[in-house]
């Protein structure tokens, strides 16, 4: 190539830069490749999915499933016991070895920052192997001393079974029903000797005959007999773990001249997947927190024929289920549920909490942060349990951080001993392993010293949480908040904040209309209905009405109206937060814009001082002061009977 020297430099540079760019891109491409699910691939933060094959099968049966589920969010792998696949599940290489595998996967997940729990999908006898693996009585006590709960069960997040013969198979009735008597001669002619070779060209028949031959000679085959001791002694699926029992639903027809006949079982349509009945497959189902229970897959129908015309519409049967999309969709459903299902109350009871009340951050156990000595006070705990407050009022569920997943907020209380402390509202995001603590809000910042005062938290469609709470006024005793407030909490991306705090009037607040239920202008009859009675004598014509624990009332019999109301003894105040002990300056500030009359010159009746505040409605609030600085008394009246009510009712 004859390139002028002056032009060679740019060309060389371009080539070099191109090579550098290519080299630079190469590692990046590798880094972006989806992580694998081989033995040397890290589990990391991914959810482990363990696939367990069944009778006379191997891990290869799950090859397509591993490919389908292995992803950046799921570590899918298959447990293999092919060498002993016709032994009963108590074989050391089946149940016990499966237990070790589950624990190892859970541990790898925990160390990798993942959920530390394993999702299990099991086909046929694999589901029985899970039952053995999860119970120390069957797995040989792996991971826990005898008599203690098996950690294997705790390491399982959820189980999906495909036609597990929990009640045995109806192909192996073992002489306990006449079914086997009818089946025996037919199978013996089809599956043994030269006849088997003649008919062996059909894969399905091969599979069935292999199963039938193994039924007759294997330990597991004997155990599959309905009512066998092995099935009776096998532990149930682990308590508290959701079990989704998937059953194939297939129909069999025969052509009989001009009609198709459905062949049913004893008046039902349960022919299962032709090996395991639906009743047997579904016997161990369990729904927990919105997942589990029964699922059925339509396997279509098969036509009984030996003419070579295979016009059946069979989509699946027992031995094809591990590669069947309908069945695998149910595993997908389990994975999706575990990855994205909204948080639940049960999940919060073992949720992580941030540092609260000077207790370190940690993880709740049965709703309480464990490990604190009794002298340390009360560690953080969900108030839903054992507090007297209704759980439904102390938790709120919805998307709090805008990621589309179901997050949660809940009331958590704690203290360091002595008196109680105001509540905390903790926000959790729905993480891949369950709840992840986002942050918390100390309700004392909004409602003062209102201890344990949260009454209800509610999720709002805008992603906020509405907190209805008692509200401590400035004049309240520490024990007894007299006001109410509505606080709106939001996650702002970095912390939980109160985006709005509305202090509401309390039931006995003073207002321009009256005090609590007692209003200016009420008649004697209305006072009587409120439980009031007239006192003896009168004050220049005014009659004093009283009722235990209620505001005292001056009533004008001439006009038949209440003219003045004084709050009952004890803390008293207005909805604006002004009460006895507030400053005169506070009164002016809170009622700025109202009509404020200055009576600090001894003109508030009988030589008293104070401020008179009106809103134009005809009602006035008197704030008396003894020292000119702090409010020492209050009343609500018409203008004539303000202050110390020097005016009578004549």
């Amino acid at each position: 190539m004859n390139v002028p020297r002056r032009r060679r430099l740019p060309v060389v540079l371009a080539v070099i830069l191109g090579l550098v760019a290519a080299v630079a891109v190469l590692p990046a491409s590798r880094a972006e490749a989806a992580p694998g699910c081989g033995p040397s691939d890290p589990v990391g933060t991914r959810v482990p999915l363990l696939l367990v094959h069944g009778f006379i099968s191997s891990a290869k049966a799950w090859d397509s499933a591993v490919k389908r589920f292995c992803s950046p969010t799921v570590y899918a792998t298959a447990f293999d016991y092919a060498k002993v696949n016709s032994n009963w599940v108590t074989d050391p290489l089946i149940g016990p070895q499966l237990a070790r595998t589950i624990l190892a996967l859970a541990d790898a997940s925990r160390r990798g920052g993942g959920p530390g729990k394993v999702l299990v999908a099991a086909h046929s006898m694999g589901g029985l192997a899970v039952r053995c693996a999860a119970d120390g009585r069957c797995n040989g006590g792996i991971g826990a001393p005898a008599g203690q709960a098996s950690p294997v069960a705790q390491a399982i997040a959820a189980v999906t079974t495909f036609d597990t013969p929990n009640l045995g198979t109806f192909l192996k009735s073992g002489g306990k029903s006449l079914v086997s008597d009818a089946l025996g001669p037919l199978l013996s002619s089809l599956c043994y000797g030269d006849q088997a070779a003649n008919l062996g060209m059909n894969d399905l028949l091969n599979g069935l005959c292999a199963m039938v031959r193994a039924f007759g000679t294997s330990a597991a085959g004997a155990a599959f007999t309905p009512g066998s001791d092995e099935l009776a002694n096998l532990p149930a699926q682990p308590a508290g773990v959701p079990v989704q029992a998937v059953a194939g639903k297939a129909l069999l027809t025969v052509r009989m001249f001009w009609q198709d006949l459905h062949i049913y079982n004893a008046g039902t349509s349960d022919t299962g997947d032709f090996v395991v009945s639906r009743a047997s497959a579904q016997a161990q189902q369990r729904e927990v927190d919105g997942f589990g229970g029964i699922a059925e897959v339509d396997c279509g129908s098969a036509k009984l024929s030996i003419t070579g015309k295979d016009d059946s519409k069979l989509k699946c049967w027992h031995m094809t289920e591990t590669g069947d999309s309908g069945f695998l969709d149910q595993v997908q459903r389990m994975v999706q549920h575990y990855l994205t299902a909204p948080l639940t109350a049960a999940a919060l009871r073992s949720a992580p909490v941030p540092s609260l009340c000077d207790f370190p951050a940690g993880t709740l156990v049965n709703s309480v942060l464990p490990g604190a000595p009794p002298s340390a006070g009360s560690p953080p705990a969900l108030v839903a349990d054992g507090s007297g407050r209704r759980p439904m009022d102390t938790m709120a569920f919805g998307d709090l951080n805008g990621d589309g997943l179901g997050d949660a907020a809940a009331v958590v209380n704690c203290n360091k001993g002595g008196v109680g402390w105001p509540d905390n509202i903790v926000f959790w995001a729905r993480g891949p392993a369950g709840p992840v603590a986002l942050g918390s809000y100390q309700m004392g910042d909004a409602v003062g010293d209102a201890r344990g005062a949260t009454e209800k938290v509610t999720y709002q469609p805008d992603g906020s949480v509405r907190v209805e709470t008692l509200d401590a006024r400035s004049y309240d005793q520490g024990c007894c908040p007299s006001g109410r407030a509505i606080v709106t909490l939001k996650w702002d991306g970095t912390k939980v904040v109160a985006s709005d705090v509305r202090h509401l009037g309390g039931p006995d607040d003073a207002s321009f209309a009256g005090v609590g239920a007692v209003k200016l202008g009420m008649t004697a009859g209305q006072l009587t209905q409120l439980g009031y009675t007239a006192g003896p004598g009168d004050y220049y014509g005014c009659v004093l009405y009283g009722a235990s624990g209620k505001p005292s009332v001056q009533y004008n019999p001439v006009s038949n109206k209440v003219v003045q109301i004084r709050p009952a003894a004890g803390p008293a105040g207005t909805a604006e937060g002004i009460g006895i002990g507030s400053t005169i300056s506070d009164v002016r500030a809170k009622y700025a814009g109202k009509n404020i009359e200055n009576h600090l010159d001894g003109s508030f009746g009988q030589g008293m001082n104070g401020l008179l505040v009106g809103d134009g409605s005809g009602g006035w609030i008197s704030f008396m002061t003894d020292d000119g600085q702090f409010v020492s008394g209050m009343s609500v009246s018409d203008h004539q009977h303000m202050g110390a009510m020097e005016a009578g009712c004549q």
Binding site: F170, L171, S173, S177, L178, V179, S180, A182, L183, P185, L186, L187, S189, L190, D194, Q195, A197, N198, L199, M201, N202, L204, L205, G207, L208, A250, L252, V254, R255, M256, F257, W258, Q259, L261, H262, I263, Y264, N265, A266, G267, T271, F274, V275, S277, A302, K303, L304, S305, I306, T307, G308, K309, D310, S312, L314, W317
Partner: protein, 129 residues
């Protein structure tokens, strides 16, 4: 009835997998001819057109008979006759096919499918030829 129904389940499970060609590439494995007892074929061509349930039951696989009974359908219209052609019989072990012609209110040619259960040949399907 329970026995029949139970047998139905089992037979159903097995029969699904019996979409089997009786002819194959391997000549040594090919099924033979004419090993169905002629007397049994005669019994069958009479029994299958009978309107007597007990007679039908003796000719049919128990599960098939139970399903037919449950459906309430007649096996063949009353007044039908049947002719089985023994020369078309193809047998492999305890499974066999043979051609039959039905005449009467409705007419047609069918391939009867048989299984030898407990030593007795019974019909479990009859597909249009």
């Amino acid at each position: 009835m329970l026995v029949l129904a139970g047998a139905g389940i089992v037979l159903a499970a097995v029969a699904v997998f019996l979409v089997v060609r009786l002819t194959g590439n391997d000549a040594s494995a090919a099924p033979g001819h004419g090993t169905l007892p002629a007397a049994r074929l005669t019994e069958l061509q009479t029994a299958l057109v009978s309107q007597d349930p007990a007679v039908q039951a003796a000719a049919l696989d128990p599960a098939v008979y139970a399903s037919l009974h449950q459906s309430g359908q007649a096996l063949l219209p009353g007044g039908s006759t049947m002719t089985i052609d023994p020369s078309t019989a193809r047998v492999s072990g305890r499974a066999a096919t043979v051609s039959a012609t039905v005449k009467g209110p409705r007419s047609g040619r069918f391939t009867l499918q048989l299984a030898q259960e407990n030593g007795i040949w019974v019909v479990f399907a009859a597909e249009p030829a």
